[in-house]
């Protein structure tokens, strides 16, 4: 990303103040075609931006992060920039996607910043021309370009995995399943909890990748294990920690680590076939009701400070080159991962939901 900086033609560079003054429609004409495939200029957190954001005083943050952590991140921002309150609207990524579509369909522009767990959503929003190009300075400097949209419309805020997990009171380490294939053992019948791809973006990724790599017939066999079907990827670790089920077939790996740290009886398993991977990108909406606060929040979330919170408190992975990995969290490079394919998901999402509902009955 750093290499792009000198290429910027000064005449094409509208100052941030100008962008803010322009209406959403005007901004569209500025950015739409001429700057395709060229990132917008990088923006720092300036006193002027903070001042303008404080005037707005609030930001609506739609996210698929675990609620407790999302509120923690919001609080860190509120402490850093007093006078701006963050309203967290948390639901599953697929639910957030539906909600934004319904709201925009009725001309309700309530969302400022979104953070999802399904990159395919950003592709759809980009195609609808709903996103505002915005490139925080540190993203331009410290992010691998793979994690930034070429037009600067969305940035990968967090990278998460959907591993297996087990309750350490109910299952010993030796006995615990080591692979997806192990889950089909009859002894796990009635003991598995699983989240839903029509609710969760992480699970949409996981289901797509598992069906692609292991085949749909694997999921058909898994369905015969009498799995307990919950909605959110953040609920499976909770159900396992409670002891309601012994094994989670998918879900938020970061919560397993977080709960293990808190002393709850749960541990993580990276399955032998590979662990499903989901990038969680964030974007600012063009029609955001609080455009300055939105940009300030988006910018801060991707600074080293914001990203280190994601690494330390959420136990997720960051694309920021300067963040320091957390002790006790296995580095991403040491995990055998399944391959992410947002374009593939975007095409297949409806089919995945339909087949999943046919197999698991809900």
């Amino acid at each position: 990303m750093q290499g792009n900086k000198p290429e910027r033609a000064p005449t094409r560079r509208p100052s941030r103040r100008d962008v803010i003054k322009l209406s959403a429609a005007a901004a569209a004409t500025v950015y739409a075609s001429p700057l395709r495939a060229a990132p917008p200029p990088a923006d720092a957190i300036t006193p002027a931006l903070i001042e303008a954001a404080k005037k707005e005083g609030k930001v609506a943050f739609y996210t698929a992060m675990d609620l407790a952590f999302a509120q923690q991140l919001a609080k860190a921002f509120e402490t850093r920039f007093p006078g701006i309150s963050v309203r967290v609207e948390r639901s599953g990524a697929e639910r957030i996607f539906t909600r934004i579509a319904q709201e925009y369909g009725s001309g309700i522009h309530a969302v400022d910043v979104v953070n999802t767990a399904d990159q395919a959503h950003c592709l759809a929003w980009k195609r609808n021309d709903w996103l505002a190009p915005y490139l925080p300075e540190e993203v331009a400097q410290h992010y691998d370009s793979a994690y930034v949209d070429p037009d600067g419309l969305h940035i990968t805020t967090r990278i998460l995995v959907s591993p297996l997990g087990y309750n350490t009171n109910l299952v010993s380490k030796e006995e615990a399943p080591k692979s997806f294939a192990d889950l089909l053992d009859p002894k796990w019948a009635g003991k598995i909890v699983k989240a839903h791809p029509a609710y969760s973006g992480t699970i949409m990724n996981a289901t797509f990748q598992i069906a692609r790599d292991l085949g749909w017939d694997y999921l058909e066999k898994l369905a015969r294990q009498k799995v307990m079907q919950v909605q959110s990827a953040t609920d499976t670790p909770k159900k396992v920690a409670l002891g309601e089920r012994a094994i989670m077939a998918d879900g938020a790996g970061y919560l397993v680590i977080r709960y293990r740290e808190e002393g709850q009886p749960i541990d993580i398993i990276y399955p032998a076939e590979g662990t499903p991977l989901a990038g969680g990108p964030s974007a600012v909406f063009k029609a955001a009701p609080n455009p300055n606060a939105a940009r300030l929040f988006q910018n801060w979330m991707h600074t080293r400070e914001g990203q280190q919170i994601i690494v330390d408190d959420a136990c997720q992975y960051s694309a920021h080159a300067q963040t320091v990995g957390k002790k006790g969290v296995r580095p991403l490079k040491d995990i055998k991962l399944m391959k992410e394919d947002p374009e593939g998901i975007e095409k297949a999402a409806e089919d995945v939901k339909k087949r999943y509902a046919a197999i698991f009955k809900v």
Partner: protein
């Protein structure tokens, strides 16, 4: 002023016209908008399809065909019927004997028992479902832990599994039986004692009298109770969403709701909503046929207080039975919620050592949706209760006094929404108000419309019968002295009806606070209400926050209901302001 006024009136008051015609027209138009608009959109959507987004819609039966042939729809329909029939049967099996015990025996504490049944009515069914998850989830449930502790059974053995169809039937019955109980208890209160006395004098024993006299007289109420329980179980959304989905099956309401997931299929949702609507209308016809003959149960006229059966030594087992029944919807769930609110982990028992205020702190100081949701719920509760009461009052007056031609139409329109399940109304309102000229989706107005529409039938029936109890001669006297209808209503009838008005207001307030099925279709991020927030929290498994929110919501409800009833002169001033 084009209207010629009598000089006497104009000398006293510059503006005094009998507004009955505009009032009728206005109310009829309002009711048409409330009821007919969403239903028409439902029917229209279910029968048409757009070949491409934005293209003209053309007639088709494809949605109904999909509905009738696709097992994805037939299974939930069958499940819903099984659920509704079983819940209705279970409710009556429990509520009827209990109502009889409370109304017709010398069982002690009968007022306290009635109050506790009311408490289970105030509890939102979805909150009860969450509480029962904490109690009877097969592995982590508190009752199953207790069972394993007592019997030494192995870890994966359990006594109860709430994530099953019987579990769902049980939980729904817990929060439906108050309706049946109240209907039957009221009917038993009204049965004149002289009929039973006559039976006793003719030599029948207690049991024979009960079997030959009392029970037959209560049958109409019992059948009405069956229907109410059936309808409630059929149209409930929250409990099936919480208990059926983890078990891997759908009911009609959860199916309709899932059709709004991206990409939304409003046509199929509308088509799937219509069977519920038709079934409800048919059942209500049946109920009317039964309730229409209700008159004979009070033929006895003025009579002594009902005879009380002496329980003797059986009072103890009987009391134990009643306590057991009440523990299911009230004691156990509230214990579970309190425990989850103050425990670090929802299914671990609170001890002084591990008790924590973390959940309370999180809910009120970290969870950023709490304030907004509480504010929205509060505003909507007050607004819906006030608007609904005023509307029901106006219609109740006009129809009970037959004040204007066309009052029958008003009565029909005001009772019609009872046939529209919440989720169906939600779909209809979504289709009606997401398009110009009235884009109300995204505002609190659309929720207010939903709540007023849903609660209008019950409010109207309560107030209409109250009006009937006030002798019209009082109003007539007022009118002879020169008052218009509205003035007579304001100065004469309203003060007499104060208690009924307050009761109706509170009823709508409570029902609004616990409503989920219409709200789940109509909320946006900025118009979230507490019930929807609790449902959101449920989906991500945040049980501690749910418990704190649910308990505060109940406290708020009780505080408002008690506060309103203590406010002196409230009913009067309120009416004068309208």
């Amino acid at each position: 002023m084009a209207i010629a006024l009598p000089t006497r009136a104009s000398a006293r008051r510059t503006f005094s016209v009998d507004l009955s015609v505009p009032v009728l027209a206005g109310l009829a138009a309002l009711l048409c908008v409330l009821v007919a608009l969403p239903v028409s959109w439902l029917v229209y959507y279910s029968l048409t399809a757009a070949p491409a987004p934005g293209a003209a819609r053309s007639f088709t039966l494809a949605h109904f065909q999909a509905l009738l042939t696709d097992p994805d729809f037939l299974d939930p329909l069958l499940t819903t019927v099984i659920l509704a029939v079983s819940s209705a049967a279970a409710c009556c099996a429990i509520a009827a004997p209990m109502a009889w015990l409370v109304a017709r025996t010398d069982l002690p504490l009968s007022n306290a028992i009635r109050a506790l049944v009311t408490a289970s009515f105030v509890t939102p069914p979805f909150l009860g479902a969450v509480a029962w998850e904490i109690l009877a989830a097969p592995n982590s449930g508190l009752l199953n832990q207790l069972y394993r502790f007592m019997t030494g059974a192995p870890q994966d053995e359990y006594l109860l599994n709430i994530y099953t169809l019987p579990g769902l039937i049980f939980v729904i019955s817990c929060y439906t039986f108050p309706y049946v109980f109240v209907l039957i208890a009221n009917a038993l209160d009204r049965i004149p004692a002289d009929l039973e006395d006559a039976s006793a004098m003719l030599g029948a024993g207690t049991w024979t009298t009960a079997r030959r006299v009392t029970i037959p007289l209560a049958v109409p109420a019992l059948l009405a109770g069956v229907l109410v329980a059936f309808l409630q179980a059929m149209i409930l959304f929250g409990s099936p969403a919480i208990l059926a989905l983890p078990a891997g099956f759908h009911t009609m309401t959860t199916k309709i709701w899932s059709l709004f997931q991206y990409p939304p299929k409003p046509e199929l949702a509308a088509a799937a909503a219509l069977p519920l609507l038709v079934l409800t209308v048919l059942l209500l016809r049946g109920q009317q046929a039964i309730l229409g003959r209700r008159g004979y149960s009070v033929v006895g006229g003025k009579s002594a207080a009902p005879r009380q059966v002496r329980l003797g030594w059986t009072v103890w087992p009987t009391m134990a039975f009643v306590l057991l029944v009440l523990s299911l919807p009230v004691f156990l769930p509230y214990f579970a919620l309190f425990n989850a609110a103050f425990s670090p982990i929802a299914t671990t028992l609170v001890t002084p050592a591990n008790a924590t205020l973390h959940n309370v702190y999180f809910t009120f100081f970290e969870l950023s949706s709490t304030q907004l949701a509480l504010k929205n719920t509060f505003i909507l509760g007050l607004a819906a209760a006030s608007a609904g009461t005023v509307l029901a009052l106006a219609i109740g007056y006009l129809t009970s006094r037959r004040a204007i031609p066309g009052h029958r139409l008003l009565a029909f329109l005001a009772t019609a929404p009872i046939a529209i399940p919440g989720i169906v109304l939600g779909v209809g309102l979504f289709l009606s108000y997401t398009r110009p000229p009235l884009v109300l989706y995204g505002t609190l107005w659309v929720l207010l419309i939903a709540y007023v529409t849903i609660e209008l039938p019950a409010a109207y029936q309560q107030l209409q019968s109250a009006f009937r109890a006030v002798n019209p001669e009082l109003e007539e006297a007022s009118r002879i002295l020169g008052a218009t209808r509205l003035q007579a209503l304001r100065h004469v009838t309203a003060p007499l009806l104060r208690t009924n008005v307050l009761a109706t207001w509170c009823f709508i307030f409570v029902s609004t606070i616990r409503e989920l099925s219409a709200a789940i279709m109509l909320f946006t991020s900025e118009t979230k209400v507490v019930s929807v927030l609790i449902f959101d929290l449920k989906e991500s498994g945040d049980l501690g926050a749910i418990s704190v929110l649910g308990l505060s919501m109940l406290l708020l409800t009780f505080a408002v209901v008690i506060g309103i009833n203590r406010l002196p002169g409230f009913g009067g001033t309120r009416l004068r302001n309208t």
